[in-house]
Symmetry: C2
Subunit: 394 residues, 2 copies
């Protein structure tokens, strides 16, 4: 019997205990032996099915030689960071869904794990139950990864879907998401793109093998998105989605950012609705491949954690991810078409941007530029009254 | 330097040599040492960049202790089968894209590989460059897989896309696919669902851990598909796609088949166009996840082979796949809604099927049934002049 501990008994932690129990037969079949939760670290004891397993003493877990894997579902970078380090130092594998910790300290924790010859695995941190990180590292290993972009946050995608399909304003759609439990009381990390930004960092780290620091990644959310742009974009054959994106730059650098984008309707990402997530990886040999599914939720995320537990106790190769973060390029250097809406006429637009593709003209003018850099877009917008500005996904 | 051999220098074999050369830097970075093609087995020598590496003598490859991995891209179950067995017996890892061989002999070859403590890997056999098999085995390992279905053949999907978007007849769309190089001169294996059927078997084998024999899987292609049904389906909000599908049955059995299906427009599969493939895996914890990309082509398929080569020389766990094929259930026992078009009136339809959802009525009647088994659909159709009958994807 392989024994594990869970740290934290929130949504994901509870899900891990459930998956281990419900799928015990499948898991034992694949591992050749059973999997058992021996201890669950909590701050406050509470009644329920796991009462017997609860402890509020981390020392009991870290010093128990029977516990081979620790699943960290505490979240944040406080005690989660401390306990992860100590568990790895004690020679235990650590599995997590904690994207903040992985984005900020993943490189350091992976190095510690390698030193101790154990695994630090975090498939659940990006895309919840959707397999993304393993396929990226393993199945696409023979590719030079050129770009990754995706809908990485279900809350914002739900809000955007409501805005498009029912014509709801952002604030109303947000309230609806909160009522349904898709958005938290304080929705800042979701709607301002911070959650998507952390996931973008993790994708960039693994794709390019260099640390991408969250603080160097510009993160723009959807709180300022206007229903008007949603409608103009739709009439022109585009959907607006919040994308995290990371790109290999000519010369070997890399860039990353989060921002709303216009997506052409024929792109499969345009049809990713509600709380679903989708990640597109572009490799130089394989072209674009997309991974799609529910990016959050108790059971999907928990099942990704338990799959990582199973991997940890069977075999493991190392994850190339250097702490060297040189070569990060400001995403304003990236060239794309831009959607811009101004208070003014087509003539005003043309004076600044030359020839443009007009989408709407009625006092305000909405148009698509040629492919230009973000710097160019900013510079040419000087003197114009810009009401909206977004990248178009080519 | 890690040395490999390629057997067969067709599209995929040539692609493998190209990927090894073009992505040498990335590959070396990840493996810690370089990868080199030492020999290529061909039947007839021909000029070109690989002339120096060619041999027509398999003994030279199998007896060369330097060659650690053999990539089999011969195809079929003749010499490909013989050479694979001999290479595995000689302690070499074997990697392949040969879906026919894997579907028919995979279980036996995996057992031989396990005995010899080497790997037999075939990610490229399903979905070309799209990671599907590894995520299924590893990232979704903590799930009980309930169902897998997908668009597994790019040729037929291209033909269907042309029929939908341009209103072309099957025969014209096929000719166009042949002109573009998407369909072979003899398109039987593609258009009759045989290629998709082999891939469905491999997915079923890995999902359920039991051999599913290709000869027990009913395979229906698109050669008899009528443009009329394509149009009726479209007006009713469905797209017609050729799906391979395998399902866990209550009681532990499993079923598998290939047939055209009606897909509701809001299902992401409905928007998989042209030569793209997509595979949906439904696990009891993770829900539905979809893998999407180009399912064929020289470089995507080759890059999947090279990724497998990289995996073979680093680490490996075993693939659970028992030769016990009991528990295979005839897919006519599966319950779905059916799309049926008859020569006759709504009254004729209702007499046989009770209440139905009418899609079109003009001498002929097209309708959707309730959820019924395939046996039921057949039985109730007796006495009706059935012009078309397809499952609806729920």
């Amino acid at each position: 019997m392989i024994k594990i501990a869970i740290m934290g008994l929130g949504t994901v932690g509870t899900g891990v205990a459930k998956v281990v129990a419900e799928n015990a037969k499948q898991i034992e079949q694949k591992l050749g032996e059973g999997l058992e939760v021996k201890a669950i670290l909590v701050r406050h004891f509470k009644d329920g099915p796991y009462r017997q397993l609860m402890t509020d003493d981390f020392e009991k877990i870290v010093s128990d030689p029977e516990i081979r894997v620790v699943v960290e579902t505490i979240g944040g970078t406080g005690s989660a960071y401390e306990y992860t380090k100590r568990a790895l130092e004690a020679g235990k594998h650590v599995v997590t869904a904690n994207k903040q910790l992985v984005a900020e300290k993943g490189c350091e924790l992976l190095a510690l794990a390698a030193k101790k010859k154990v695994s630090y695995l975090f498939e659940a941190s990006v895309g919840g139950g959707i397999p993304v990180l393993h396929p990226l590292k393993e199945c696409l290993a023979a590719n030079r990864i050129e770009e990754i972009y995706g809908i990485l946050n279900g809350t914002t995608n739900y809000i955007l879907t409501r805005m498009v399909t029912t014509g709801a304003f952002f604030s109303d759609a947000l309230r609806e998401a909160q009522t349904k439990g898709y958005a938290e009381a304080d929705p800042t990390a979701d709607v301002e793109g911070i959650d998507a930004g952390r996931k973008t960092c993790i994708l960039a780290d693994l794709a390019f093998g260099h640390q991408v620091k969250p603080e160097s990644v510009p993160m723009e959310g959807i709180s300022k998105l206007s229903l008007r742009d949603v409608k103009i974009a739709e009439r022109a054959g585009y959907r607006i989605k919040l994308l995290g994106r990371t790109v290999r730059m000519p010369g070997g650098g890399r860039s990353a950012y989060v921002a709303p984008h216009l997506i052409p309707e024929e792109n499969p990402l345009a049809h990713v609705e509600d709380v679903f997530n989708a990640v597109v990886v572009r490799g130089n040999a394989t072209g674009e491949v997309m991974f799609y599914g529910k990016g959050a939720g108790e059971m999907p995320t928990a099942s990704a954690c338990v799959s990582d537990v199973m991997e940890a106790v069977t075999s493991r190769s190392s994850t190339g991810w250097s702490a060297d973060d040189s070569g990060f390029v400001d995403p304003r250097e990236l060239h794309t078409r831009f959607y811009i809406r101004i208070e003014g006429s087509l003539t005003d637009a043309a004076m600044s941007f030359g020839q443009v593709e007009v989408l709407s003209e009625d006092g305000e003018t909405a148009f698509l530029t040629d492919r230009i850099s973000g710097y160019d877009a900013m510079e040419k917008s000087t003197g114009l009254n810009v009401l909206a500005c977004m990248r178009v996904l080519a």
